[in-house]
């Protein structure tokens, strides 16, 4: 059983990388989508709503297959790792957008008025007044979303990305020691979940010191 660990840890590292990469996509696209969702143009808002509805209304596994089989048609072939990153990130982005939408709405209107009365542009108001406060206020919900993102990474095994679950499955196929291997795999996921919560708590503490 000790022999299982190195291979599983390698898988865990791949899981961590996948989670981080997908998280970057998730936050980046999420901010973009919420900007569209709250924009003054009806078409932009409609596009955002359709995107969010589709991402939340279809299984992540199906989205992964669509991206995996669709990327080559766009000329973007390559390693399945990137298809998984894109699919998982795009899926999570819809939830991030909704989280941010609530937080932005919670910023008092007076702050927006003050910014407008000084003559700040909407982009500047977004960047300097709304987004920083929304991100800080959303930290608990975003942490939850990060944990969910971690728990979505096993789907990448369906396109043969050698992350933790895939490594576990391959080992089970070789050794038939399903119980022990799955116990180790579960332990590793629980550890990673825990790490995310701890990192978020540390981030929250840093923000509290730096801010008001």
């Amino acid at each position: 059983m000790a022999g299982a660990l190195p291979e599983l840890v390698a898988g865990a590292v791949a899981t961590i990388l996948l989670t981080l990469a997908a998280a970057v996509v998730s936050v980046g696209v999420g901010i973009l989508v919420v900007a569209l969702r709250l924009s003054g143009h009806a078409i932009a808002r409609a596009l955002a709503r359709v995107y969010i509805s589709f991402m939340r209304g279809t299984p992540a596994l199906v989205q992964l297959f669509l991206v995996f089989f669709g990327l080559p048609a766009l000329g973007l072939g390559g390693h399945p790792f990137w298809a998984a990153t894109a699919a998982i990130g795009l899926n999570s982005a819809a939830y991030v957008a909704e989280i941010l939408r609530g937080a932005i709405g919670a910023v008092p209107a007076g702050q927006r008025e003050a910014a407008a009365s000084i003559g700040l542009s909407p982009a500047r108001i977004w960047r300097r007044v709304l987004l920083p406060q929304a991100l800080a206020a959303s930290l608990p919900a975003l942490t939850n979303e990060a944990t969910l993102l971690l728990k979505t990474t096993p789907l990448a095994s369906a396109v043969a990305v050698t992350e933790l679950t895939f490594s576990g499955q391959m080992m089970i196929a070789r050794t038939y020691q399903a119980g022990r291997i799955l116990a180790l795999v579960s332990l590793l996921y629980l550890l990673l979940s825990f790490a995310i919560t701890r990192a978020s708590a540390a981030l929250e503490r840093r923000l509290a010191v730096a801010g008001p």
Binding site: R56, G57, L61, F69, L182, S186, Y189, L190, F194
Partner: protein, 222 residues
């Protein structure tokens, strides 16, 4: 890029059969998960200390584990307990346990949000516990419960897709078979996505309708 729908029409029967099984599995898993969820919520709110801690531990583990890992665990390990369980039963068990934990959290949250004074007043007035539950707790807790439960229901429905990895012949599995026949993965998965999307929309609509009716009742009672 031309879109050829013959892969879809050729396998229409199989896709529909897979979709039906998906619906079936979702409904069954949802029922089991609800029972488990209610049980866990009850255990955490009014059980003896050990039971409360065990329930809490179970929920915490479910929230830290990916559902696919749980599905694989049930698939590989449950048959070893002697019960004759095929992939469908293993899959159902996994989804029921996983979503049972989340449902219990949603319920617990809504119940904990009730002002405790109300229950105290009812107890002091001598109302029996069942009556308190029926007339005071549930009517008020149901409303706030609906949005998170609706989200979990849709989540469960979507998650049945993972059972395709353990060879359950649901919607996505049917799609894979169609693809191996016709080599049109994108088109087939697109149709499958649309199928899920439509069904999710129906579930969300139903939840909204239920919520509207429940809240009407609450406003009248208030």
């Amino acid at each position: 890029m031309t879109i050829d729908i013959s892969p879809i029409t050729d396998h229409w029967q199989d896709l529909v059969a897979g979709f039906r099984l998906t619906l079936w599995l979702s409904a069954l898993a949802w029922l089991l998960a609800s029972v488990i969820g209610i049980g866990l919520a009850a255990a955490r709110l009014c059980g003896p200390r050990l039971v409360r801690q065990l329930a809490r531990g179970f929920v915490d583990v479910m929230r830290g584990l990916p559902s696919l890992v749980l599905i694989l665990a049930c698939f590989y390990l449950l048959p070893a307990t002697g019960l004759r369980l095929g992939p469908v039963q293993s899959g159902l068990a996994a989804l029921a346990l996983y979503y049972g934990a989340y449902i219990s959290e949603a319920m617990r949250g809504a119940l904990a949000a009730l002002p405790p004074g109300q229950i105290e007043a009812a107890t002091a007035a001598g109302l029996p516990p069942v009556t308190i539950l029926r007339r005071i707790i549930l009517p008020q807790a149901i409303g706030p419960m609906i949005p998170p439960l609706a989200g979990l229901t849709i989540g469960l429905f979507k998650e049945t897709a993972l059972l395709s990895t353990i060879s359950v012949h649901e919607f996505v599995f049917a799609g894979k078979e169609a693809i191996s026949d016709s080599y049109a993965p994108f088109e087939i998965y697109a149709v499958i996505a649309l199928g899920y999307w439509a069904a999710a929309g129906v579930i969300a609509g139903a939840a909204g309708w239920i919520e509207a009716r429940v809240n009407r009742y609450r406003r009248r009672a208030a």
